[in-house]
């Protein structure tokens, strides 16, 4: 199944969801050399926001990809208010929506630690480099700690270049 992050981002934005891009795509944004096969975002939850996510992907056959029987998203509306995370498979790829980021907290804590990226297909928020490093350290998996190594190097180089200006 294709992974099209640009299309997913655009749909989420067009449906009025406030969100910050986190995870591997955010690492790529900052210059990290990796390929990641899902799109991770942090957003506020609650029925209204989950409905916005549903509206963004409802024609893409979304289902809860971590459930054993791959429950279609539309069949789980009765528990939208109880969801704190969403791990969806859609026709445009995997979309993981989290209410909290390790080491940072919920959306209200994440938002001020984000930067606005003006891309040709719209403006989107990504975790800033320091917050991304903090979240990867807190997540603590081997792959996260590997990412911390090169994110620290990228940060150092950025600071060196800023000092030259």
């Amino acid at each position: 199944m294709a992974q099209n992050d640009q299309a997913l981002l655009t749909r989420l934005k067009d449906n009025g969801l406030d969100f910050v891009v986190i995870g591997g795509v955010c690492v790529v944004y900052h210059g990290g050399p990796l390929a990641t096969f899902d799109l991770d975002i942090c957003c506020p939850f609650g029925v209204e926001n989950v409905r916005k996510i549903e509206s963004a992907v409802n024609d893409l056959h979304p289902f809860h990809r971590l459930t054993a029987n791959q429950l279609p998203l539309e069949t789980t509306r009765s528990v939208f208010g109880e969801l704190r995370n969403l791990y969806l498979q859609t026709d445009l790829g995997k979309l993981d929506c989290l209410s909290e980021v390790a080491g940072l907290g919920n959306f209200d804590a994440v938002l001020p630690r984000s930067v606005v990226a003006a891309l040709s297909y719209g403006e989107f928020r990504f975790l800033n480099l320091d917050a991304l490093i903090a979240s990867k350290k807190a997540a603590g998996r081997e792959q996260d700690l590997a990412a911390v190594r090169y994110l620290l190097a990228i940060k150092e180089k950025s600071e060196q270049q800023n000092n030259l200006l």
Binding site: L119, R149, L152, A153
Partner: protein
Amino acid sequence: MIDQDTLAQMNGQYALPPDAGPAWRAAYEAGVDMSLIDGALRLTPEERLAEHQQVIDFLLELQEAGRSHGAK
């Protein structure tokens, strides 16, 4: 005339920049291919995301080809 350092770089040895800081050196010594980061930092963030999309498309195509091959 190509010197030994240049020849080594042509053969894949990464030339650690003289101004490399401790974090850059640590990542290099941990085995991170710093040339990939150098390359990514030369791109704009949007170019990085577009390149990433191309990589994903290619890898998924490769994965699918592998599956088809395995199915034969």
